[in-house]
Each structure stands twice: as C-alpha cells, then as structure tokens.
Amino acid sequence: MHHRSSAAGLRHLCGIVPQDLLGLTHYFTKRIQDLRSGSRDCLRDDHFAIPDQFNPAREGALTLAHSTDNANVTRRDFIYVASSAATAIGATVALWPFIHQMNPAADTLALKEIEFDLAPLVPGQIVTVEWQKKPVFIRRRTPEEVKSAEDALMSDLKDPQADKDRVQRPEWLILVATCTHLGCIPSNLSKGDFGGWLCPCHGSHYDTSGRIRKGPAPKNLAVPPYAFLSDTKVLIGAEPKPAATAEHG
C-alpha cells in the first residue's frame, strides 16, 4: 500500500514528498542514503513508497516499534536526523540572547528626549548639548550663514540635500555632532573651508548646513528628530510635530 496521492507538484524532487513529519524524516533519510550510495533508484516511480508503518493513512502509523528493514530506514536514522535538527535549531535559538544582550538596554533606550532653552543663544553662536550620550550642535545661524547654506549647488554636494530639508526653522540648525567618518566631534573653533565645521581627526569639512563638502566623511552630519515646543524651547529626540514643519515648509 503506497502513499502517493499528495504533493504531485513536487514530484520532480525525486519521488513523492510526504507532508507529515515522519514521512519527511523518512524521505530525507532515504535521500541521504541515496546520495551516499550514488543510487538513482528514486527515479523509479514506486521507489519512494513510504513504508506502511510511516504511512499516516494506515492504522498505527505512528508506532515506530517495528523495524523497517524493507525500506532501510531504521528508528536510529529517525532519531539521528531529529536530534541533529533539534540540536542545530536549539543552538541557533540559544545564541540569540547572547548576541542581543549587547544591544542598547532598556534604560539606555529610555534616554530619548532632552529639552533645551534656546533663548540665551545669540546669532552665530553654537552650543553642544548631550543627547543619547552623543553630542548635539545647536547653532543659531546668521542670515549670511543661512544664505550660504541655501545657495549651495546640489552638484557641489557629496551627499546632496537641500538646506530646507535639514532645518525646521532656518535660523536654528540642530545636528548630531558626530563626524560621519569615524565619530570625532567636528570643531567649532576651526570652521573649515565652508564656514561650518572642520573635523580635527581626519580633516572633513562641513558647511553651514552641516553637509559634507570635503574630506573622507561619506555623509552629512545627521539631523536628530526634534520639535519646537515654543519659540524658545526645543525638544530633541521628539518626532517633529506636523505644525512645526508646516510653518517652515
């Protein structure tokens, strides 16, 4: 009595592919044996007969007590395949907590938002604040600095982005102060060739919009998520409110 009704579409795999666990174990054990012995018998139509005791259509199909010499598949083969599969999957699953523990912990993730009072800043001033353990520049740009940022030609930019896409209010430039090359803080004192920042470590020049203009850094200084709570208060780490962007756009 052979089980050969299902999985007709998969017959090119070699014989009938069973669709229950015992049947699959039998199938793959048999395939491994065929590969080892170089047998091509499976091309024969009836070769992939599932022995009766594995055939779920039969009474007592799950009883593995009998030997299966006629199909050369023993309980030992089944246990071998099942236990190696369980070990491999188990080891992979057990690895994940050991890897994931190194990712930022819940308390680290909680340091998401800081509020900053903009009122004391005079035009042209830059302050550095700490957000998520990273330095953040808040720069009150002068009209000339805004103009030079807005006038830059897209074709001159290594990582092209318009100034208006990097600020919510042109006067306030807020940036993650981490050089996109290797993580140093670009210097406020030496503004570089484009009036923005110069990274002292490996010589990347940023413009008054924090865009990379010269040097090894691949990307513009990142803009963190922030929202203006009022004209003089900004919340760094908050997703921008639609009103705040609408006012600018």
Binding site: M102, L182, G183, P200, P216
Partner: protein, 436 residues
C-alpha cells in the same frame, strides 16, 4: 624530524605509573627538552620564547590589576589613579602591564620580520604562519580593548574611532556599531564589555599559542639557512642549548623592558590619556598606540571611508596569502639577493608609514624635524601602494625570476665550513651531537 633513537624512559615507580595514565612528563620531555632543533639558530630565533614570557607577564599583571580596577565610566579613571598612588606596588604593576603591551608588540614585530626574512612562512610551515597571524590579530584586539580601560581622553576617542570602522560596512554598519557599543555612542556599556573581553582574549591567545607551538613541532624549526634538517648531525637537543640561549636573550630583553618601567614609563603612552574621558570634547590630534600606526596611516591615506577601512584590514590579511604568493623554493633571504633588498625596503616603508600615522594628516611630511617637500597625504598614498605591491606584485614576480645563490648542502656542513674557515679548527670534534 627525529632525534636519533631517543625516547623518554620513566625512571622511577611513580613516573612509570603516571606515564601509563597521563604521559605528560613524556610530552614535556619530548617537546621541551629533547626536541631536536637546528644547530644554527641565531638570536632572531629567541623572540618566540620572549613572546611566551611576555604573555605570562601580561596575564599575571593583568589579573592582579583587575583586583583593583573598576570598569565603570564614573570610576574607571579614578581607580587607575588609585592603583598608581595608593595600591601597594600598584604603579609597578600598571607600568609593567602598560609597557608590557609595547614590549609584546616589539617582540612580535621582530618575530614576524624574522619570519619574513628567513622564509619561515613557506611550506611546510604555512599553518604555523597562519596561526601566527591569528595570534597577532588577537593581540591587536586585546591591546585596543585594554587601552580603552583607563577611560582617559585617548581611551575614549580611540575607542570611538576604532569602533566606527564598523560603521563603514554598507547597510548594517550603524546597527553593528550600536551593538558593539550597547548604546548610541561609546558608553559605560562599552567600557564594561571591553573589560570583559580584554580579560578573556589573552586566554584565547594562550590557546592559539599552544596550536602555534604544536604546528611548529610537526615540521620543526626553520633556521637562518632556510634549508631542511637532513639528519641528527644538523640538530642539537633543545635543552640545554636553546633553553640557555633563550634565557640569555630574555635577560637582555627584560633589561630593556625594565628601562621603560623604571626610567621612562610614559614614553610610549600619550599625555592626553591622563585627562578623564569627555564625550563632548575630541582631542585635537587623536593617535592610536604606536603599534597600530603604520595601519592607521594606510587608513588615512584613502579619501573613501569604506575603502580606507578595507585597505587597513587587508594590510594584515595580505600576509595570509604570502606562502602562496612567494613561489621561490629558497627560503632564506640570505640566498635571495633581490628579495633581501626588498625586505629592507619594506621595513623602511613600514617605518615611514608609522611616522605618518603619528603626525597630523595635513601639511608636509616631517622627517625627524626636517620638513620634506612632499605632502603627507601623497606620501602615505605612495607608500600604501608600495606596501601592497610588495606582497601582491613584487614578491610573486621576483620569486619566479630571481636567481638564487647556491644553498649549502646541509646545516652541519655550513656550520663546519664556517668554523674551519674562520679558526681552522676541525669542527667535527666540537660537534655537540657526538655527545649523545
């Protein structure tokens, strides 16, 4: 390599009993005392023993420093200062450990260049060479992790720059760096895991050292002539001949080490690391420890971030291909006139790359106070290209076309010829293997 008919014979009842249960004395005897070693090894072959000694020094001094050090961002710097000022002999242990790292690298560079000169990487010692590269990479990682622990400005910003190498990987780079940090920047989580790994890796190194020595003992030592051992006449037992020679070299090396510990302990450090870490201020000029400088110069020579990082790692990985890039059947550079010159040029190139890594990236090259009319960027690019050309182009081409000098028939003949040539003493009579 067999050494006559010698085998270990347990002498008393206990060693006989032990030998049939755990033949550890037999293993030590055959590997460390009787091991037949070419009789012509020079002092360049003593660095393996010195390196083993340095690994032990670093592990011992590190274990006791860990009894006083606190791996926490608010306490790490102060705990190191407490070790220096208050802990009994803390200053000695810390200076031993910090300068020990430099000594370890001095010895490993001597050991590596010895291998390059005498062709120790060639068949049948390829696996020995590859294991050596693994040890060197582990040493680099351990040194970097350890340099972070005092949590000074150079520690913090060095860690920032090095961990950011991984951000160069496309797509997953930023996630990998956050995973390494356990935060959004180098942070307390980073310091704690670096301490854990810094404690772990030396033991991994010790494990690979065992494999390295095992892989050495299968083909046996290379030697300054680079020719195979032909028979017992070419070798002497490791003990007492090389135990004595290694010990003497070790004493001289420890004197050199002691000079730094006692008279110039901060010569190889950076003053900025006595400033506590400040995440809001990058030092104006970040330099890594001296032993990374040539690779740092290669990184900086490339204007593209990803390519720079790839080239820097390739500068070490290219060594792994050397046994197959060098097609010459002659091992020792003694008999390879062109390769020998290339070897010394390579040392010069690596040295100047190291000087470039030390200097700030802008302006002209400063050669010991003399400003040369060449920009540092251009010079480091030329030298980086030469460095890779040495391994990938010159070595294979020269190894195929070079005409080697005649190689001596055997180690014994060469040694005796040298002896009789210089002092006209019949060498055979002094030959130590007659003793056996």
């Amino acid at each position: 390599m067999s050494h006559g008919d010698y085998t270990y014979q347990p002498k008393n009842a206990f060693t006989k009993w032990l030998d049939s249960r755990l033949p550890i004395i037999r293993l030590m005897d055959e590997a460390m005392l009787q091991f037949p070693t070419p009789k012509n090894l020079n002092y360049w072959f003593t660095f393996g023993g010195i390196l083993t000694f340095m690994l032990v020094v670093q592990i011992l001094s590190g274990v006791v420093l860990a009894m006083h050090y606190v791996p926490h961002e608010t306490m790490a710097f102060d705990s190191v200062e407490r070790i220096m000022r208050d802990v009994n002999y803390g200053w000695l242990l810390r200076y031993m450990h910090a300068n020990g790292a430099s000594m370890f690298f001095i010895a490993v560079y001597a050991h590596i260049f010895r291998g390059l000169y005498y062709g120790s990487y060639k068949a049948p010692r390829e696996v020995l060479w590859l294991l050596g590269i693994v040890i060197y990479l582990l040493m680099m990682a351990t040194g970097f992790l350890g340099y972070t622990l005092p949590w000074g400005q150079m520690s913090f910003w060095g860690a920032t720059v090095i961990t950011n190498f991984f951000s160069a990987i496309p797509v997953v780079g930023p996630s990998i760096t956050e995973w390494l940090w356990g935060s959004f920047a180098v942070d307390n989580a980073t310091l704690q895991r670096f301490f854990s790994l810094h404690y772990l890796l030396p033991f991994v190194i010790a494990g690979v050292v065992v494999l390295h020595i095992w892989a050495l003992h299968v083909p046996g030592n290379n030697n300054p002539l680079g020719i195979d051992v032909k028979g017992p006449a070419d070798t002497v037992p490791f003990h007492p001949y090389y135990t004595t020679k290694d010990l003497f070299a070790l004493v001289v090396f420890v004197l050199f080490f002691s000079y730094f510990i006692f008279f110039n302990p901060n010569a190889m450090g950076h003053t900025d690391n006595y400033i506590p870490a400040n995440r809001l201020s990058t030092p104006l000029h970040i330099v890594p420890e001296w032993y990374y400088l040539p690779f740092y110069a290669i990184l900086r020579s490339v204007p593209d971030k990803l390519l720079g990082v790839i080239l820097m790692f390739s500068a070490i990985l290219v060594w792994a291909f050397l046994p197959w890039l060098d097609r010459s059947h002659v091992r020792s550079a003694k008999f390879r006139p062109i390769y020998r010159q290339m070897f010394f040029i390579l040392i010069g190139v690596v040295w100047i790359l190291g000087m470039l890594g030390q200097q700030s990236p802008d302006g002209n090259f400063d050669f010991y106070g003399a400003e040369l009319p060449i920009s540092k960027v251009i010079l480091s690019q030329i030298l980086t290209i030469y460095y890779f050309a040495h391994f990938l182009l010159l070595t294979p081409i020269v190894s195929l076309r070079e005409k080697a000098l005649p190689v001596p028939e055997s180690i014994s003949k060469a040694v005796l010829a040298k002896k009789s040539g210089s002092a006209a003493v019949p060498g055979a009579a002094r030959s130590p293997e007659k003793r056996v």
